[in-house]
């Protein structure tokens, strides 16, 4: 559901541009509002969330889908954890739908999806691993489960088809969510050069936080 926010970036307590291919992570405190802004349009912001006090309790795509009985994320969606907790609630969205079944790219999945010789290309799993290591040496690949792809359009048909369509995002569109507990947010701003949905051109996003 499209819904604009009344928050003004001029009053934010934190702003950071995340370049294409970079990872970004930050603790979002309970009650804070977190916006991801698609600066140039059709960029996929691959995002993971963890309970900041117990990272074993983390965002779960299937629990989120199960609890809302729907595939796409938008205003009103509760982002659920493996432990059954609501981590965040999406409170504004000027894009309309976001994907959580398409997963993140990895060097290994690039060989499967595109070609064996794509293995050396930069991929989201590498960014996620580096981002997790900045929080704890104990976090790693094992903790990278299914993510959200903010701004990504992965339509499913009633007949069981699945495709990757052109994004429905555009420059300046955003998604905003309020943290219902202290969470670690981890973004891999996808470096994918093989996917037509971003016109083969990864671009920056901005992370903005309000108290």
């Amino acid at each position: 559901m499209l819904k604009e926010s009344s928050l003004d970036p001029a009053n934010a307590v934190y702003r950071q541009v995340v370049k294409a291919g970079d990872h970004w992570s930050h603790v979002i405190k309970k009650g804070q509002t977190f916006r991801i802004l698609d600066l140039e349009g059709n960029q996929a912001a691959d995002t993971l969330f963890y309970n900041a006090h117990d990272p074993v309790d983390r965002y779960s795509a299937s629990d989120t889908i199960r609890c809302q009985q729907a595939l796409y994320l938008t205003t009103g969606s509760m982002l659920m954890s493996t432990g059954g907790h609501a981590l965040l609630e999406i409170t504004a969205d000027t894009c309309g739908r976001h994907d959580t079944i398409g997963g993140a790219c990895s060097r290994e999945s690039n060989t499967m999806r595109y070609a064996i010789d794509k293995e050396p290309m930069h991929a989201c799993r590498d960014s996620f691993i580096c981002g997790l290591h900045s929080h704890s040496d104990d976090l790693g690949k094992r903790d990278i489960t299914c993510n959200i792809n903010f701004f990504m359009n992965v339509p499913v048909t009633p007949e069981g088809g699945l495709s990757f369509e052109d994004g429905i995002s555009a420059p300046g569109r955003y998604v905003e969510m309020v943290a219902l507990m202290d969470v670690i947010a981890l973004i891999s701003n996808c470096p994918q050069l093989n996917n037509p949905c971003n016109a083969y051109n990864p671009t920056p996003v901005e992370a903005i936080i309000w108290d």
Partner: protein, 238 residues
């Protein structure tokens, strides 16, 4: 295909075994309306696990069916779906947890119900995973064999009742040595308000060698590259 082992899994049962590459697992819905929750891990490198996104996007499908494959998160194949009779199996709706089971079916304690007490799928997975040194960090989206859930254009999901009939079956052929973790708790969207989990029969057999014209490989070029990655892994590892 010769059968080397058979057993029956009761409703709300749980099971975990390593199945060697080249073997098959046939699951049969004995009474109709069964649901088999499944998670898959590399038997040796258990951080490699079933990956719902790569399975779906790598094959441009939303419903699991023959002759498609079950992909790992390392660009490899755990298994190919070599035969199945219902045409649609869910892998996005996840597993019931204790809260969901209590809200839907009420209190179902062992004290009153003995071994008909209400189990939930997440707890069954965690009990079996613990036996292999795995735990909550290893929970990822699972497969729900025999259950059909469709999406409308807006992404709203609905469970199709009466989809799997008595005698419906699924046969997997393993391409990696795989830790297979199962439970037969009801699908989280099963609308029945009575807790009536259904039994399944399990049969493990020996598969024929995979040929170049295998339907699972021909259906998508992605599967051929994943099979290549799997072959390299097996060649170097064993």
């Amino acid at each position: 295909m010769s059968i080397i082992h058979q057993e029956k899994l009761t409703g709300a049962g749980m099971w975990s075994k390593v199945i060697k590459r080249g073997r098959t697992l046939k699951m049969t819905d004995l009474e109709g309306g069964a649901n088999v929750g499944m998670l898959l891990y590399n038997a040796y490198e258990k951080h490699e696990r079933y990956n719902m996104p790569d399975t779906l996007k790598g094959q441009y499908i939303f419903n699991l069916k023959a002759p498609y494959c079950l992909h790992s998160d390392m660009g490899r194949l755990f298994a190919s779906i070599v035969e199945e009779s219902s045409g649609w199996h869910d892998t996005v709706c996840g597993a019931s947890d204790a809260k969901a089971v209590q809200e839907k079916y009420g209190q179902g304690d062992y004290q009153e119900l003995r071994n008909d007490f209400y189990r939930n799928a997440q707890e069954c997975f965690l009990i079996e995973l613990a036996k292999w040194g795995l735990g909550k960090r290893d929970l990822v989206p699972n497969i729900n064999w025999f259950s059909k859930v469709v999406s409308d254009e807006a992404g709203k999901l609905s469970f199709v009742e009466g989809h799997s009939k008595a005698g419906d079956s699924v046969t997997l052929r393993f391409e990696l040595d795989t830790l297979v973790v199962l439970n037969t708790c009801p699908h989280p969207f099963d609308p029945s308000t009575e807790y009536t989990p259904k039994p399944v029969a399990l049969e493990i057999g020996e598969a024929d060698t995979v040929q170049d014209d295998d339907p699972s490989l021909l259906v998508r070029s992605e599967n051929q590259r994943a099979f290549h990655n799997t072959s390299v892994y097996n060649k170097l590892r064993f």
